[in-house]
Symmetry: C2
């Protein structure tokens, strides 16, 4: 399996995550615009992977600046374009800020050298993300017990990152230690990232799993079949409130009702310490047709009114622990996340 | 629109609920076996509608007994076949018991007359169900306030019954009184009865609605957009525990967490007063491919392991009120459902 995203021969190659697992197709991006469209249409998704893609998009934007064009203006345009693709994941803005810093520092380099410098930075972001995920796995693996059954939602695996995964990284690290683990996979409507991506990844890793419809999770918690929940995050406020794929909030409420632990796994660049609470996190509303269809099939009347919030916010009080590359934080998060602020990479 | 199910020209005609709303196709059943298959494959579904269909199945079974065949043995075979189709809905067994009673009472009639007598009984069950639904609507309509927004799950509408609906019946009765109502419709994976059937019915009735994925309900409760929940039921134990479509349990937990009312609507023939609690209700596990597909589209790996419980049980303590044709019952149900025991029809 090729990586989720990689730089090859002057272009960014991504596995098209809309088509998995039925087709394994790769998309080539040769410009910042190509990357922006790939993020918008969810060819690539998952907060850390979006950050990596955006960084490559910035590099491509500068590499493609034509002689005589206004570099500053073109750079700002590229940043604006990429920043406008998806509003919720913090990693996107983090990556754009980091790339902007490198651009400013190296502004006096010849244009070609500047492009290469930005490309190197994007590659560093990718490499660091993979390493970060392994650290998240190592930090969190003791939260999973031998014989455990763990529910995960959406895809916080290798496909959502430069590789290895955040929530799946923890499960995987525990599994690689020899623990017997069973994973329940929420299919995750409307775009079915659980059924399509997480099931595909766990199958390749040989980790035993059961796929369920999202609305079965509560009942399987009640029956004792699900014993804890681990998800990723798209943005975490400084009080510990965590935005993640729609449906995560319901799982956190259900876990609390059944007395089960609910864990969130994310790299530090998912944290937005500038936000006091999750109420300040913008929630993307996506196209109605995503709900009106499943896979490529229409499932309802063509014009039925729809709500399609792509994310929700889990209040900190429902989160048992947050795992990052720095370790495990527990409530009260306002106090216990503070030491991670200084450690922020980038 | 033709009724959900009707007797015409010596056969039972049902709208094929697997194909709605994309196709409006009618299936003809000419034998008890045809009816049994229609119930198993969910051409017809919804506890009250299954009861009506089973009653017609029994009548067809007796009408089709060949001269010289052992009537008693054939009757028992038909009852066994129909009883084995789906285990959870009480109405199926209630209808078979009622038809068996009529068979025993009229055992000495000539075979043709006995068949007609059973057919008349099935038609009565159908007519009574429609009337019962209107009474449920009248009983429950005051639970819905002007300007309310109500979530419903699966389909407890005209298609789940002989007509009018139970949960949808309440919404409809309130709407017909002139109340401004907005309905949130859970799509209801895996078979999408909400997206396919409830959306189709509400559209025909002109009741404003918004379709959502099941995993959005909790977040819309938190945001204040959903203000109460009304569902049907497939079987209710004498302590008030209520089995209904998978996902209903999660909604009841979420409603309680947000301080929202959670109502169950069902006719008396859905009650199983012989059961002390919901723990005794058998929960059907349906084929894995229902979860592996959505509509006609495969959505995951072909062999991924799946759980597919078709129902769950809402504990009585999470139910704000139960509505039947006899009125509204509130906790404690052990005491407050007692007056309904004697009133059981059939």
């Amino acid at each position: 399996m090729r990586p989720t995203i990689e730089w090859t021969d002057g272009k960014v190659v991504m596995i098209d995550q809309r088509k998995l697992p039925l087709e394994e197709v790769y998309t080539e991006c040769r410009s910042a615009e190509d990357v922006a469209r790939a993020i918008e249409t969810m060819v690539i998704r998952g907060a850390p992977a979006i950050g990596v893609a955006a960084a490559y998009g910035v590099a491509l934007g500068v590499i493609n600046v034509a002689p005589g064009e206004d570099l500053e203006r073109e750079f700002d345009r590229v940043i604006q374009r990429l920043a406008g693709t998806r509003p919720t994941a913090r990693n996107l803005f983090w990556a754009l800020e980091r790339m902007t810093g490198v651009f400013r520092e190296n502004r006096l380099l010849p244009c070609g050298a500047l492009g290469l410098r930005l490309l190197r930075e994007a590659q560093s972001i990718e490499t660091e993300d993979l390493e970060t995920n392994r650290q998240i796995g190592a930090s969190g693996k003791d939260l999973i017990e031998d014989g455990d059954s763990v529910l995960t939602h959406c895809n916080a695996g290798g496909l959502a990152t430069a590789g290895y995964g955040t929530a799946i990284g923890i499960i995987r690290a525990a599994f690689e230690e020899g623990k017997k683990i069973h994973v329940f996979v929420d299919e995750t409507r409307p775009l079915l990232q659980g059924a399509r991506l997480t099931a595909w990844e766990l199958d390749k890793l040989g980790i035993p799993m059961t796929l369920i419809s999202d609305n079965m999770a509560g009942w399987l918690m009640k029956s004792g079949e699900i014993r804890r929940v681990v998800t990723g995050a798209d943005r975490i406020a400084r009080n510990g409130d965590a935005a993640n794929k729609i449906g995560t909030y319901s799982l956190a409420v259900l876990a609390r009702h059944h007395g089960l632990p609910f864990y969130v796994a994310a790299p530090l660049n998912t944290f937005d310490f500038g936000l006091r609470t999750g109420a300040e996190i913008p929630i993307e509303e996506r196209p109605a047709d995503e709900v009106r269809r499943a896979g490529s099939c229409p499932i309802t009347l063509p014009d039925v009114p729809v709500r399609n919030p792509a994310f929700d916010v889990v209040p900190a009080k429902l989160i048992t622990a947050i795992v990052s590359e720095k370790g495990i934080a527990r409530p009260p998060y306002g106090k216990n996340l503070k030491p991670w602020r200084g450690n922020r990479t980038g």
